[in-house]
């Protein structure tokens, strides 16, 4: 009996990767370089980019991938897709919270506890993608782990230097995510063979 759903290799990873990358440029760039200077209006705009680029773009990708693994199983032949779906969904929702938190100028202190869970999820991602031999995406998760471990120390110790370090990792991950967006898009759209 032929399969009802044919497999697709057009994974929508780039939607989430570009969303997170843009978000990291804005959050990391503003935090690291101090431009624009933080005030109530700037905080609101930065929060909005967090909700929509970091949040919605990743959340929709995660839901889309899980749908392609379950109801309409078109992505089931690639092992790490389950990990990617979990990561996009979980990080997406956490950006809804962080963006909204910044928009309404709410306290970031409870994020100390959040950073334990997300450092853990990042480490799971490192293991999963290295085990699958996918080094370029494993690099994203290494940088994610560094982001949340820096935040963990920064928030629990009330150490601004570690939060600045977190901005450095965010900006570096933004740069790497822009490469991955470039590589995945040209590979899928034009049949090129960039390292992904």
């Amino acid at each position: 009996m032929p399969e009802l759903f044919t497999q697709s290799s057009f994974f929508p990873f780039v939607v989430g990767l570009f969303g997170l990358g843009t978000c990291y440029f804005i959050w990391g760039g503003q935090g690291l370089f101090g431009y624009p200077k933080s005030d109530a209006n700037v905080e609101k705009t930065v929060g909005l980019w967090g909700v929509w680029m970091g949040g919605f773009m990743q959340f929709i990708t995660g839901v889309w991938l899980f749908t392609g693994l379950t109801w309409f199983p078109v992505f089931t032949k690639a092992a790490p897709v389950y990990m990617a779906a979990l990561a996009f969904t979980a990080y997406g929702v956490h950006w809804f919270v962080m963006g909204h938190r910044r928009y309404v100028h709410s306290s970031a202190a409870p994020d100390a506890w959040m950073s334990i869970a997300y450092a853990w999820l990042s480490i799971i991602g490192v293991i999963s993608f290295f085990a699958a031999g996918d080094v370029p995406v494993a690099i994203v998760f290494i940088l994610l782990a560094l982001i949340y471990l820096s935040e963990l120390v920064g928030r629990f110790s009330n150490a601004p230097a570690f939060l600045k370090l977190q901005n450095v990792w965010q900006l570096l991950n933004g740069i790497w995510l822009m490469y991955l967006t470039f590589a995945f898009t040209l590979n899928f759209a034009n049949g090129m063979h960039f390292w992904v």
Binding site: G29, F33, I175, W176, Y179, F194
Partner: protein, 41 residues
Amino acid sequence: MSLWDEEDVTEDEILDRWFDAGVVVLCVTLIIVAIQLSGGV
């Protein structure tokens, strides 16, 4: 209030911003070139 409500910005600060943004864009470009040159394509 103007859309661009920065009245006390100096030429040096603007140059610094362009430098920071330029470094970020340069990094993305260098990664692509480096991967291509190392046979990653």
